[in-house]
Symmetry: C2
Subunit: 527 residues, 2 copies
């Protein structure tokens, strides 16, 4: 059987590994034809060496070089749209349209083009100048970045096309992409497009590279290699924490986006006011993409009463009426079921769903569970188990105090939402809950479900551990996401002609913002 | 014997611990009278609980509250100047003047006042507003911060008065200070001043607390406690890595400043031009504070030749003529000697010094060692051992290529310097060395020794591992140092009256810079 090549140092080469794997079509549970290699250590080591050489060659390159690549790459991706959509549809079960073709693909090229704009402008590097002392500083490239992509966004978070990739390149780094095993064919097409763009824009051969899979041990060696600059990882908690431990021990910056259950508090008067509308919002958000979003609302906190009983009944009915979507893999299906079982074991009642669906593909019935507030507070850790998929847990609290305590007892999450009465009837309760929830979530929302993650400079797709590895950083939102893959570089008494252009007296770019003597400006300064 | 109290939850209380310790006067090697407790776990736990309560009470407080405290505290410190200088002189052996009274103390109060100015202004939080999507974000307080202070700056990096303390408070957090065991009396006086200021400015009782010492195990429990927000640590590598491992495992942001040997490259034509001047610069920098600076130049890289031979002879003579200063403790003295022995074992020749000085206090002869460039490149790790104290290692390379390779082989450092000919005669060699050195050092210098660390917004007192734990952050330089002790907080569709003032349409402070729709401005915006 033909084995697909890996992209190492500018060449598509046959892997020297003996192990292989195939993606599985979630709609049929059957393996797809293409066969991909598990890279052995020597291959990974050669990728690291090539990336390091590229990193050295690119030192001091202007942002324009990286912007040109990112734009050429976005164009190449658009040329491959049909291939990408068709392959990703087979590998993920996501609908070709609107999800893949009209949603995720334009989002991906838009991210790459936004990253290009910011790489060219350079304000992301926060040039800071203190004319009195002759000291200046800015963020600069850190070196080879390894990106681990997740299963659930084959385009927008792809290891060689998604947000981490765009940010790492915009910061001026080479990338070693470790594709997700569930969509290797999709990742290969991206890598072909990236390779074409890299050649057109004359980037070094080790600038972008692709391996599909490694052993766990080699994954740890990769992230802790002395030549590694930083690591981006999006995916499950267990594998993520293994990567984190290896990277931490070697002192390598590692940016993880892990699990999150995204609590939604729906306050009593909001339900009195617009129960049906919120139920519809919630159903749409929770079942979107069969619940396989990092920001899927997996926990809904309510106050007991007849309006809440009615709301829950409405949602149960909607979940039962809605078709159960495909799940990405057998692993996701099993993980979802075992998550539901764990939540039941911790005391929750199953309201609907819970079982795998009939049929050849990977699917589970839309699922809802329920616990009381006091049950939740007795066992908050077990009841915050993530069941990744098309399900959610209702927590019905008896008192306002319980609602506030639940907010305080949450683990770190990407998001936290509060729905409240539009006329202010819930405001006193809001004020009891919001301060606690604020500290537990990277993004606080009002009256809106968390699944949409706008690529905005003000976005935070991040949050306290364990939702991510560090609460200062966001993985979505440009320019903020870029400087994760950089280091702060200070220049003290450096002769002016040796400074990077962005720190010289004359501003090289009228759109470049610099912080000069305590003021942000696009003007020049006098040395 | 009377045992000094700890400051827990606003009260100076007797420790419940049974173990005690005393500081030792480095000038006499005799224990000082005051006896300090090792806090048992229950005491530490009660400090954490009090800090957590304070953190909740202060949620949403304006920067003004923290600014008022910081300014009142700087005033209180000035009232205690004589006590502080006298006690620190006994505990550290540093001269009362100019070092303590005229140098470090004003620097400390200046840092606190700068932090106050920035806490009040609020630009450190980088308010970011995207009016098109209704999303905004800023950095906010993270929760209780534990600060571990080092031995070598009893004022400016003191756990309850130094840079980490000032930054953690400016971000809106309570601080648990873990004083350094070598200057507990100094730390106690600061804590008394801080406590007075906290009471005057009506801060919560758990806002600032002091413990002097813990067991290693309890130190790890402290930094990994679920209620902990973040950790600042400055000190030795071994203890720092233990703290890092515990904090990393618990997902707590930990900011470490560890060892650094601060390489200085002196290029051939610079020596031809101004050898005597550079020798004097180097001696002053290397022997300042008996070499006990994080930025002490511990590695000097030169190119072989008669000018280099002469330079080394000049420096040896100066080191032999200069009196050997006091070292901070017996531990520092032993560590310095064992560092020198390790460097010798790795192949270096001792040029002068190496032994403990005669006399009652802790002191070693001013020390210089030498290796060739090829020796260094054969064994770079062992020859980068930090010998913390009044010594340095010369590396004499034979070729330009060796100089460049040495730069590439360095570990992460806080600083890297290059001295070159003022007329440009070294520029070609500079260009071979600087790009590699740039990636290995947080701060790159020209023609200037690294020991001065200006408190400038453009300063980076940070660098790649192992000099610190994360190369994006600096521990000196306001406002940049502040946001280490924060989390990114995004507001999505939040009703305008519920937003923090800094994100509302009307700018609450004419000096507050905000990033609105891709532009920095102090203006209002239209919602």
């Amino acid at each position: 059987m033909e084995i697909q090549p890996v992209l190492i140092n500018g060449q598509w080469i046959s892997s020297t590994g003996s192990k292989t794997f195939q993606a599985v079509n979630p709609a049929t549970a059957e393996a797809l034809e293409a066969c991909f290699p598990v890279s052995p250590w020597e291959e990974i080591e050669s990728a690291i060496q090539a990336a390091s050489a590229a990193s050295k060659e690119m030192r001091g390159w202007p942002g324009e070089r990286f912007a040109s690549f990112l734009e050429a790459y976005a164009d190449e991706i658009e040329k491959r749209t049909d291939d990408l959509v068709q392959t990703a549809n087979l590998e993920t079960g996501y609908p070709a349209s609107p999800r893949l073709r009209d949603g995720e693909l334009p989002r991906t090229t838009d991210q790459l083009r936004q990253a290009a704009t910011h790489a060219r402008e350079g304000s992301w590097a926060q040039p800071t100048i203190d004319t009195a002392t002759g000291i200046s500083a800015m963020f600069g490239a850190i070196g080879p970045v390894t990106v681990f992509g997740p299963n659930n966004f084959p385009f927008a978070f792809n290891s060689i096309a998604g947000g981490d990739f765009a940010a790492a390149v915009a910061a001026g780094n080479p990338v070693i992409a470790k594709g997700h095993s569930s969509h290797p064919g999709t990742t290969q097409i991206f890598a072909e497009a990236a390779d074409a763009a890299a050649k057109t824009t004359q980037m070094p051969t080790g600038f972008i590279q692709l391996i599909y899979r490694t052993s766990h041990e080699d994954g740890c060696r990769l992230v802790s290699h002395p030549l590694m600059g930083a690591i981006g990882y999006t995916g499950g908690r267990s594998a993520g924490l293994t990567i984190k431990e290896a990277a931490d021990k070697a002192g390598k910056p590692v940016y993880l986006e892990l699990s999150s259950i995204n609590p939604v508090f729906i306050l009593p008067e909001a339900l009195t006011e617009r129960s049906a509308e919120i139920a519809e919002d919630f159903k749409g958000s929770c079942l979107m993409g069969t619940g396989q979003f990092c920001t899927n609302p997996g926990l809904v906190v309510l106050k007991s009463g007849t309006a809440t009983d009615t709301f829950i009944q409405q949602v149960v009915q909607k979940f039962e009426e809605a078709p159960a979507g495909l799940l990405l893999s057998e692993g996701v299906q099993k993980g979802f079921q075992s998550g539901i079982k764990a939540i039941q074991s911790a005391g929750a009642t199953l309201l609907t769903g819970g079982n795998a669906s009939e049929g050849p593909g990977f699917s589970c019935a839309n699922t809802l569970l329920k616990v009381t507030g006091s049950q939740f507070l007795e066992n908050p850790e077990a009841l915050q188990e993530e069941a990744f998929g098309n399900g959610s847990l209702f927590v019905v609290a008896d008192t306002d105090e319980e609602l506030a305590q639940i907010a305080e007892s949450l683990e770190g999450n990407l998001t936290g939402c509060i729905y409240s009465h539009t006329g202010g009837n819930d405001d006193s309760l809001y004020d009891q809950i919001a301060p606690g929830l604020r500290q537990k979530a990277g993004r606080l929302l009002n009256d809106k479900m968390p699944t949409g993650v706008a690529v905005s400079p003000a976005m935070n797709h991040g949050g306290p551990y364990p939702s991510t590895g560090h609460p200062v950083f966001t993985s979505v939102g440009i320019p903020a996401a870029i400087h994760r893959f950089s280091m702060l570089q200070c220049y003290d008494n450096i002769r002016p002609h040796r400074l990077p252009d962005a720190l010289k007296p004359q501003n090289p770019n009228p759109n470049l913002w610099r912080y000069i003597d305590g003021m942000y400006t696009t003007e020049d300064y006098n040395s």
